[in-house]
Symmetry: C2
Subunit: 106 residues, 2 copies
């Protein structure tokens, strides 16, 4: 059973990021915010290559936070995005256990 | 009030991705999966530059899905990652409305 202390709603997190950083994010704009996302993706790559699980926890959080930030800047609801694409199983084959050709994107 | 149809738990989404694609993701490994993430990040950049909101919804979903996929491959719980870093307000200043110097990472 999921530990309720480790269960968060994506919309709550998106709202939290907006509350904490929203005004500066909008002022910075999409391109500048995307640069931050790329910086964190690079740090994630490093953590995956040579980091500890602790490092990885931090970098996954950072990438998700900056992705969420960009979503806020352009007015995208991440929960809506996820549900539209994955709300009915695999977007490619409609199965819960994907049966798509592995060379193609699911 | 959040529409309950558009409210998902991050751990549920991570579990869904694991159920749909888990075996092939583990077989592909971290590096190959990271390549997919980068492909989607590029598509997100394009959608941000010239896409419609519909395009952006799709690409945000894809980036989040592949980020979640890598987390599954390396055994990282995204909810735990987020709560550890952001569970007490801004990691830099501890405030809900961040007061950090804007040149520094929050």
């Amino acid at each position: 059973m999921t530990d309720p202390r480790h269960s968060i709603r994506l919309d709550d997190f998106q709202q939290l990021i907006g509350t904490m950083y929203g005004s500066r994010d909008v002022a910075r704009g999409v391109d500048g915010t995307f640069m931050w996302l790329m910086e964190e993706v690079g740090e994630l790559a490093e953590a995956l290559r040579k980091g500890t699980q602790q490092d990885r926890l931090e970098e996954f959080a950072d990438v998700l936070a900056w992705l969420t930030t960009i979503a806020n800047v352009v007015g995208i609801d991440l929960s809506e995005a996820i549900i539209r694409k994955y709300g009915s199983g695999c977007p490619g084959c409609g199965q819960l256990d994907c049966q798509c050709d592995q060379a193609e994107k699911p």
